[in-house]
């Protein structure tokens, strides 16, 4: 427990900054909603945009003139930010001991490496939940302030549930790379590259349906935001497989961290 507490303390500042940025992000996104919805003129223009353009903006087939569509559109950026946080946190929390050369302090204590990873992942997961919950709360608040139509509380909760799963995937990916890579210091950069790669891949598959199989490589596409806001549906299989992916990556992190030579 001392380790969990220590990690939480070490990341306190970073979590506060991320939280503020997320809340501000939601706010600044929601402020624009009236222009999209009020006179429908903006929406008409947007509807006339070529499909590729709409896809690139992240709207796809969403109807951004109503709150559910607009929020889903905004959410695609929220989830990107949360994923970046999770990926960097996952790689950083593992790699920092070697980066700061503190392995000779921590790993000669009477704790196993398994316990070290468990404590670090627990501390990280707690941070993911806090960031998710605060962003969720901010979303409720600002949606309520601007929404004049149908209540979308269920949609919001479902969206943030998928976000938590995506956060978990990238957390595990970051931790896995930090434990696996020879030079763990660079794992943050690699995690971020993979993350952006996955994001861009998701954009590409939005443009054309021929490449949909590539969506397997992009956690951002594991959950269909469209179906979620239209039918309030969340695929149980997608949830299960995504969680399985996160667990497998985390198991890999344990495996490779135990085998690792701590050379500093």
């Amino acid at each position: 427990m001392n380790l969990v507490f220590m990690e939480l303390k070490a990341y306190r500042k970073s979590l506060i900054i991320w939280s503020i940025c997320m809340v501000l992000g939601v706010y600044s996104g929601m402020v624009k909603y009236p222009t999209y919805s009020s006179d429908h003129a903006a929406n008409d223009v947007l509807q006339q945009l070529p499909r590729t353009m709409r896809a690139l903006f992240g709207m796809g087939s969403l109807n951004v003139s109503v709150m559910s569509g607009f929020f889903a559109f905004l959410f695609s950026y929220i989830v990107l930010a949360a994923a970046i946080h999770a990926g960097l946190l996952g790689s950083g929390i593992i790699a920092k001991e070697e980066r700061d050369k503190t392995t000779e302090f921590l790993l000669v204590k009477p704790v196993s490496r398994t316990m070290v990873i468990t404590a670090k992942l627990m501390a990280a997961m707690l941070q993911l939940v806090v960031l998710n919950a605060l962003t969720l709360a901010a979303s409720f608040l600002f949606v309520a302030a601007y929404n004049k139509g149908k209540d979308i509380s269920v949609e919001i909760v479902l969206l943030f549930a998928t976000m938590l799963i995506i956060q978990l995937i990238f957390l595990s990916l970051g931790a896995f790379l930090a434990a696996r890579m020879q030079r763990s210091k660079t794992s943050g950069a690699v995690t971020a590259s993979l993350l952006f790669g996955a994001y861009i891949l998701g954009k590409i598959t939005d443009l054309t349906h021929h490449l949909n199989v590539l969506n397997l490589l992009s956690p951002f596409k594991y959950f269909s935001t469209g179906a979620l806001v239209d039918k309030q549906e969340l695929s149980f299989t997608a949830v299960l497989l995504s969680l399985l992916l996160a667990v497998l990556l985390a198991a890999g992190a344990y495996y490779f961290y135990k085998k690792r030579d701590m050379n500093n």
Binding site: N2, D100, K101, T103, F105, L107, V108, P110, N263
Partner: protein, 293 residues
């Protein structure tokens, strides 16, 4: 009972660094010196023993158990790394308390005691400490839980002579309390005063292990003489003289053996100047162990 058992330990990483077939054992209550030049494999051996590095072959155990399979055995271990790095934005006391939180005992009194002896300011931030002060934090951190096995990797680097004395006194005190000490250094004289037994390591191999009492009969001195007239090499044919260099009126050599023999020989000479110093380990290796080994 042997507190440390290392059998045929081999680890190669990088190109040249590593250890080959290292075997040694340290008995309970001993102070054991592990001597070798920089880069000879001292730290690699220690890191493998502590469970930081996986050996390619061989075994290493403390209290009969491997640190990989039984990390809890490290309850009894105190370790001072050769280069101390800690969480930079913590205060000294917070770091020491954090370190103490891993052990199943209350260490707060011992932390205060050790800090007082080492003259360490507990309120400072780690990032504001000098190299020597970080080393002090390392010493306190390694001893605060009163471990039964203390492993010190080049402990005196960065400490001024006064602090070194206090540190050696601390180590002797721990030994009196029954602790076993494993101590690496590249300075033989530093170890000579403290250790019961030493092992010499070079280029990743143990050259030999000796009891300090055996080694002390052989003191090593580097002697430089400046004479008033030219001299002949035959005068310096004493047994124990090695690396003899004669340049005009200057004579230099390393001497191993009874110091009275060499002073008697020097007394016969017409001297302008004389210096007697400690040869470094490299020289001892080069001129004695390599030939004999």
């Amino acid at each position: 009972m042997n507190v440390i058992e290392i059998h045929h330990l081999t680890k190669n990483y990088g190109k040249s660094r590593g250890i080959t077939d290292v075997s040694l054992s340290v008995a309970e209550g001993e102070i054991f010196g592990f001597i070798g030049p920089n880069g000879s494999g001292k730290s690699t051996t220690i890191r493998t023993l502590l469970g930081l590095i996986h050996p390619a072959s061989g075994t290493a155990a403390i209290f009969g158990k491997s640190c990989f399979e039984h990390p809890e055995i490290r309850q009894q271990l105190g370790y001072l790394p050769s280069e101390v790095f800690y969480y930079e934005n913590m205060r000294v006391l917070d770091l020491l308390n954090y370190s103490a939180s891993f052990y199943k005992k209350d260490c707060s009194k011992r932390i205060r005691e050790l800090a007082a002896v080492m003259n360490l300011d507990l309120t400072k931030k780690i990032s504001d400490l000098s190299y020597g002060n970080k080393k002090k934090v390392g010493i306190v951190q390694g001893l605060l839980h009163e471990p039964k096995l203390i492993i010190l990797d080049e402990p005196t680097g960065g400490l001024d002579p006064l602090m070194q004395q206090k540190f050696f006194e601390l180590i002797r005190e721990e030994k009196r309390k029954g602790a076993t000490v494993f101590f690496s250094s590249h300075i033989l004289s530093e170890v000579q005063k403290l250790c019961d037994r030493v092992a010499f390591i070079k280029e990743g191999r143990i050259l030999r292990q000796e009891k300090m009492s055996d080694l002390q009969e052989n003191t090593y001195k580097r002697i430089s003489i400046e004479l008033n007239q030219e001299t002949r090499p035959e005068i310096f044919q004493l047994e124990g003289i090695s690396d003899l260099q004669i340049k005009n009126k200057m004579v230099k050599f390393i001497f191993k053996g009874n110091i009275n023999q060499v002073t008697a020989m020097i007394a016969e000479l017409d001297l302008r100047n004389l210096t007697i110093g400690e040869p470094d380990l490299e020289e001892i290796f080069l001129h004695y162990y390599e030939k004999e080994g």
